[in-house]
Symmetry: C2
Subunit: 255 residues, 2 copies
């Protein structure tokens, strides 16, 4: 069975308080799509954050002395640095413009995933507004899943993705930051290989592979297609959480 | 337009010297697929290496003193360690069973991408055989592209992928190790965002996102579908090389 990823058409600009289940049901209809058992819907983090009111006006933020010092070192807005530190457990590396952190959600990323683009203000300069990641992306995914399953009456998966840079490769790729109902990790350890006589040691980052695929069709372009319908995800749906994808600190060679 | 990834059916086990263009033409036919302008074919590294005769019998390898010492430290076959070192520019980290290296091809990966599974011997124990990455995966991709374009008479892209672990996340994901005719990196820097008033700083690792997508449908399972047909790749085809995806050492914060 092929894997087919279709960006939904006609998705409106999302505002705080919008019901993404309603918007998605409408956009699926506009796109001539329905949901079948085993389908997955992939949401860009940005619209989930917006709907959940995670926009912050930098004018309301008072940077701590630590944020001021770090902001000076790396030439970044101290109020933004303050937010990055609040959203993080640990700072791993810094360089001009970038703070690589362990996010409070457990993963490592640049600038705590705080997005500076595509955030419109209301009567204030756009530069003053930034967007934090959802408070609990697994829970956000679960709410979307519950709402969509209630509407369509079939079991589906929901994945929330962001774009991350990589330590050694250029270019961002889509990665999972929250999910419900599809496996984050697929464990092939112990399965025989093609010749039947060697045990495998592979775990597949299936949710991250799907995130990258969906990111490819979302693009980062001005058109903006923040929700992607997926048919043919090749693994059985099951309960899962992002925690499956987080490498424990004691297995981390690159802190 | 949807992005559709279809694993080819009926692909035979590949042996040294096999012509992958011929095998792929046959498998496309069996799968009821043809190639249209802009399509991409994704090949698992393993079959490219096998066809190119990159299998090595460990019994023929004499480990250097350095390989012996490292092998002792990390409890690994000294002959395999010798091959890993030969295929690498630098060792970044070691831990039991794993050597993270900068491969001679430029990217960072575990154990120089040398594969121990699915490599059958001929009259010798399977454990004695390993598979190196292709000598020059971009050139391999270009040969496949030339052959397939000559057969089908349309411009296509070819991508060769492997599965890599990540520094901070569990699970492997598909990544590009060689390509021809499709952009490795898509540069959106300078493009306006959705609101038209902020310049973007994003480069997208498009070939890696496609690699992850294709890896998802190839699976790592016993069935083995080592070639994936892609329709709807959302960026214009162009000449490219893997080098676009390699982060320069002076931008690397995690050596």
């Amino acid at each position: 069975m092929p894997l087919t990823l279709t960006p939904l058409q006609g998705y409106p600009l999302v505002k705080s308080g919008d019901d993404l289940v309603d918007l998605t049901v409408q956009a699926l209809s506009v796109s001539g799509l329905t949901l079948l058992p085993g389908d997955v819907l992939v949401f860009a983090q940005k619209i989930v954050s917006k709907a959940e009111g995670r926009r912050v006006n930098l004018a309301t933020i008072t940077p701590s002395p630590r944020a001021q010092e770090l902001a000076h070192q790396i030439e970044k807005d101290p109020r933004l640095v303050e937010l990055i530190l609040r959203e993080s457990r640990t700072v791993l590396r810094t360089r001009p413009g970038t703070i690589v952190v362990e996010h409070r959600l457990g993963f490592v990323c640049a600038n705590a995933g705080i997005d500076h683009s595509n955030v419109a203000g209301e009567g204030t300069a756009e530069q003053e507004w930034v967007l934090l990641l959802p408070e609990d992306p697994d829970a956000s995914a679960q709410r979307l899943r519950d709402g969509l399953q209630a509407h369509f009456g079939v079991p589906i998966g929901v994945l929330i993705i962001d774009s991350h840079g990589r330590a050694w490769r250029l270019g961002t790729v889509g990665v999972a930051i929250g999910l419900a109902g599809l496996p984050a990790l697929v464990d092939l350890r112990g399965k025989p290989d093609l010749f039947g006589y060697r045990l495998r040691i592979t775990q597949i980052g299936a949710a991250d592979e799907l995130a990258a695929a969906a990111s490819l069709v979302m693009g980062q372009a001005a058109e903006g297609t923040p929700v992607v319908h997926v048919r043919g995800f090749p693994y059985p749906l099951r309960e899962s959480s992002l925690a499956e994808l987080i490498r424990p600190a004691d297995q981390d060679m690159f802190r």
